[in-house]
């Protein structure tokens, strides 16, 4: 299987600060991809570069064989590459219904609006109960559901989740992890950034440790790792 996304030698940053140094990775060859590593080492920056929020200084990003560097975020969403940003900072004063309508804004997603809405409600029945409520009045877990639900409304061909369980209570986190597994079983390939390695090991087939703006280690399918090894990658040997 060809990778649906490949990042080739991307260097990117903010102003004069370079965060990503010639980073390369692939997604979709073996299934879901997990990214992990210490905070502040470029995971979120990488995702911003992929989704067009940040222009890389050099390198190529191929989505489905086409170089998307320089494409607008809108064009990238239009191609079906959907990024759920970290921290569920969505549209605080819009209702859940509004968010779902926005998710289906792109011409590619609009014909599937009703069908995707069914899917989202089936996945997160809680949202249906609060359909007309403003996002700011929801709990952290519910807001994360809205974020992911909005992304599903965009009819993703590849879904990128940036720390979906960040700051959630353990019980809600388990529910959300189960929902993400459901999405994956529904046939949407995922790239997930997560600090919870157990969850990543369960969800993904391929892992990258991102450290100092580059891939420090790649773990391919079959190369199983135990918890201790990952801890030593995090904290040095």
């Amino acid at each position: 299987m060809n990778p649906i996304l490949s990042v080739e030698g991307v260097t990117a940053g903010y102003g004069r600060v370079t965060v990503l140094h010639d980073i390369s990775l692939e997604a979709g060859r073996f299934g879901n991809v997990g990214l992990f590593g210490p905070n502040g080492h470029g995971k979120t920056t990488l995702l911003r570069a992929i989704s067009g929020l940040l222009q890389p200084k050099s390198g190529r990003i191929l989505f489905d064989g086409q170089d998307i560097v320089g494409h607008s975020a809108r064009a990238i969403v239009g191609a079906g590459l959907i990024h759920v940003p970290q921290g569920n900072r969505l549209f605080p004063d819009l209702s859940i219904a509004d968010c779902m309508a926005l998710g289906a804004y792109s011409p590619r997603a609009r014909p599937h609006e009703a069908e995707n809405r069914e899917k989202v409600i089936k996945l997160f029945p809680k949202l249906a109960e609060r359909w007309r409520q403003r996002v700011r009045t929801l709990s952290g877990g519910e807001r994360q559901m809205v974020s992911i639900g909005t992304a599903l409304m965009s009819h993703p061909r590849l879904l990128i989740l940036d720390e979906p369980t960040l700051g959630l209570a353990p019980k809600i986190k388990d529910e959300l992890c189960a929902s993400v597994m459901d999405i994956s079983r529904g046939g949407v390939p995922l790239i997930v950034v997560e600090q919870d390695i157990e969850f990543l090991l369960e969800l993904t087939q391929q892992l990258y440790l991102v450290n100092h703006g580059a891939v420090a280690t790649e773990i391919k399918p079959g190369e199983s790792l135990d918890h201790g090894e990952i801890m030593s990658m995090y904290f040095g040997h």
């Binding site: 975020a73 990024h83 605080p92 004063d93 309508a101 998710g103 804004y105």
Partner: protein, 291 residues
């Protein structure tokens, strides 16, 4: 009785004009996060374009809508030339104050060169006068009092009931997230400016129908609209609308009881008090967003 009628009528009338102006300022602020100091010039230009079209022989019913549409284009172009290139830079609020002031000054002097300093007037929406509650009023003013709420309601419906309006409200709340659902953020910025400029142009046409026009006719309404948005809070469009009418009534009452001379001082007194007590505005929550 006639005092009350006079204040009520004056308040409704001035409030209508202020509301049309203030809503545009609020729309631009909430979506783009900048303050448009050429907003008063939009008002002037709308009036002058309407005047020119009428002068060329078009009936008012054709000339006025054309002027409003032309103003939408002017707003779009201004946004594309002096606002959009600066988006993403640090201190954008301050920089855009300067660029819009400069553009406004340029347009104002351009109008002076093209149309000259002599005062002009455009036809009233409806000619004639009537008496209500012992106060003589023109039908033009009554038309404005009736039309303005309809236009503002239409704007509210557009923002709250259409997909494009939803997109505008979304951009106002979170730009990054708007990019990530595939909104054309640049076009929405242009749209916000276009709507604001059309509304200001319409306010100018309203004003040109009962007062003499001059190239600087927009500066006083801009000042009043600034007071309105500071007073009402700029985080939504309903806040400035209510505030516009309140300020209109306040102004009408002041000029009735204390005279025209004291009114600006009292208005600024209210402004300073608002800034001290409730700097986010009396109708505002502390966040940005259109509703």
């Amino acid at each position: 009785m006639s005092a009350l009628a006079e204040i009520l009528f004056g308040g409704l009338f001035q409030g209508s004009l202020y509301a049309m102006m203030a809503v545009g300022l609020a729309l631009v602020w909430t979506t783009i996060g900048v303050f448009n100091f050429s907003h008063g010039v939009f008002m002037m230009l709308g009036a002058y374009i309407a005047w020119q079209l009428v002068e060329l022989g078009l009936p008012a019913a054709v000339a006025f809508p054309i002027a409003v549409v032309v103003m939408a284009g002017v707003g779009w172009i201004l946004q594309a030339s002096v606002v959009r290139p600066l988006i993403g830079r640090p201190n954008i609020v301050l920089v855009v104050v300067i660029t819009t002031l400069a553009a406004g000054s340029l347009i104002e002097n351009g109008a002076l060169t093209i149309w000259g300093p002599r005062s002009k007037q455009i036809p009233a929406l409806i000619a004639g006068n009537t008496t209500i509650g012992g106060v003589g009023v023109s039908l033009h003013q009554i038309a404005i009092i009736v039309i303005t709420p309809l236009i503002l309601a239409a704007l509210w419906m557009f923002l709250n009931r259409t997909r494009l309006g939803l997109a505008l409200r979304a951009v106002a709340q979170n730009e990054d997230a708007s990019h990530l659902v595939g909104l054309n953020v640049t076009a929405l910025y242009g749209l916000a400016f276009a709507i604001a400029a059309s509304l200001a142009g319409l306010a100018g046409i309203f004003m040109g129908g009962y007062r003499f026009m001059s190239p600087v006719m927009g500066s006083d309404p801009l000042l009043k609209a600034l007071i309105v948005v500071v007073f009402g809070g700029i985080s939504s469009i309903s806040g400035p609308i209510f505030a516009a009418y309140l300020i209109g009534f306040f102004e009408a009452a002041c000029s009735y009881y204390f005279g025209l001379y004291w009114t600006p001082a009292l208005l600024f007194g209210v402004l300073i008090l608002t800034l001290m007590v409730r700097p986010e505005g009396i109708f505002a929550s502390r966040s940005r967003g259109l509703a």
